[in-house]
Amino acid sequence: MTTLLATERIKLFTTRSPWWSALLALGLTIGMAVMVALNHGGNNPLRVEHSQFGIQFGLMIITVMAALAITTEYRFATIRTTFQAVPNRSGVLLAKCVVVAVLAGVLGEIAAFGSWAVARMIDSSPELAISTGDDLRMVAGAGLVFALAAVLSVAVGVLVRQSAGALSILLIWPLLVENLVALIPNVGRDIQDWMPFINAGRFLNPVPEAPQSPWGSLLYFAGVTAALLIAALVVANKRDA
């Protein structure tokens, strides 16, 4: 397994897209925190959650990066080379998930703490201190959400195999579908409670009306991710490479 992990790490970092994605994710997230902190004025003090407004930028870009990590293998047929070198397909794909997830997790932590730190540098209001458990979960939890989202993206990438298709699904689903379902009369809100990315968001930013606790929400997101990953592994093992 360590060999597989090392292999996947080399594969990931010898292409350009993870570097670009990392730069963009950090730049946009922290940049958003700067914008918010600089323009914040008036009566409401700047709080921890304000510094985390940009975290969704980072999340979406990490999603793109993770999906590309596997779809580009299909596009350039390097997946065949990979399976030729290591016929244990589940092992290969799990190793890729781990590597991508670790990178995503690290970037998530840097993005979240970086956003908080720049906000803190610009504005020294005491409300910006990480004092409660909720505050800590909101910032430190970003890495967990990023890592899980990365695994989910790899799974979707394995299932779809095309960059364009995988990205369309992975961006349209959380950004549009999950938000718009709430507008369906009567049943919309109840459906939304069981949307995976909504739950991931509620882990960081809990809402009182949610049926699950914050950690319950994260668990649900992890469950959806696991289900997709298992589906992806089964399909990859059955399918011709």
């Binding site: 914008m35 979406m60 369309s168 961006l171 349209i172 369906i184 009369p185």
Partner: protein, 254 residues
């Protein structure tokens, strides 16, 4: 005219436009059906609510438009194109026109399809398209799709990679414009002048007679201009993107 025919042949001899058209129609009309099916006395159906899914169709159409040009780069058929038609601006304008026309037609089909299915399901509801607002809400969808397709082609020419272009378009339209409003003080002011907010203002702005609660359709936009100027603004933005794209393509090695 010949070039328009050429681009039409190219577009329809691949599979992605068919797929995207089918998905756009299914989602928008499906949501129209969902909306009318779940409506009741407490939240009655109206014309605006039938267009609930128009933003879905919009993103799918933009993906289709971007792919129409990025796949040419991916498979290097853009070189074959420029060999056959060395006048690059003409070739790209022809493609943009064809894609925009298709997007417009898909938009009208989505809009009237959603409206039609709602009328079938809730024949009792007041779904007559009478006011200027109601016409814009339904028939305007095609215009917005066509202009959005022009933007997507422009971005596709500039970025040249499917993944990059799609990520840029989807993240911008669905995340950036929305998140901008979260910036305190200046955020909402900037948002009033962002292009896709403007296009939304054309569809949902000036909700004259049909004043409606937020859960009955796409929420009305807070834009800096009235509906028709907003559409012009949106179109002007598309033209700027396209001009930059064509200038770049002309200068760049194919």
């Amino acid at each position: 005219m010949t070039l328009l025919a050429v681009e039409r042949m190219k577009l329809f001899s691949t599979r992605s436009p068919w797929w995207c058209t089918a998905i756009a129609l299914a989602i928008t009309i499906g949501f129209g059906a969902l909306m009318s099916g779940t409506s009741n006395a407490a939240s009655p159906m109206n014309v605006a609510a039938t267009q609930f899914g128009y933003t879905f169709g919009l993103v799918v159409v933009m993906v289709m438009a971007a792919l129409a040009i990025t796949t040419e780069y991916r498979f290097s058929t853009i070189r074959a194109t420029f060999l056959a038609v060395p006048n690059r601006p003409t070739a790209l304008l022809a493609k943009t026109a064809v894609v925009a026309i298709l997007a417009g037609i898909v938009g009208e089909l989505c809009a009237f399809g959603s409206w039609g299915i709602s009328k079938l399901i809730k024949s009792s509801a007041d779904l007559g398209i009478d006011t200027a607002y109601e016409w814009r809400a339904v028939a305007g969808v095609g215009l917005v799709y066509a202009i959005a397709a022009v933007i997507a082609v422009g971005v596709g020419v500039l970025v040249r990679h499917s993944a990059g272009a799609i990520a840029l378009l989807l993240i911008y339209t669905n995340l950036v414009e929305g998140l901008v409003t979260l910036i305190p003080t200046i955020g909402p002011k900037i948002h009033r002048w962002l292009p896709f907010n403007m296009s939304n203002a054309f569809i949902t702005g000036d909700a004259d007679i049909t004043t409606r609660p937020i859960n009955e359709g796409p929420p009305p936009a807070e834009a800096g201009l009235g509906p028709w100027p907003a559409l012009l603004y949106f179109a002007a933005f598309a033209v700027v993107v396209l001009v930059i794209a064509i200038t770049t393509a002309k200068r760049r090695d194919a």
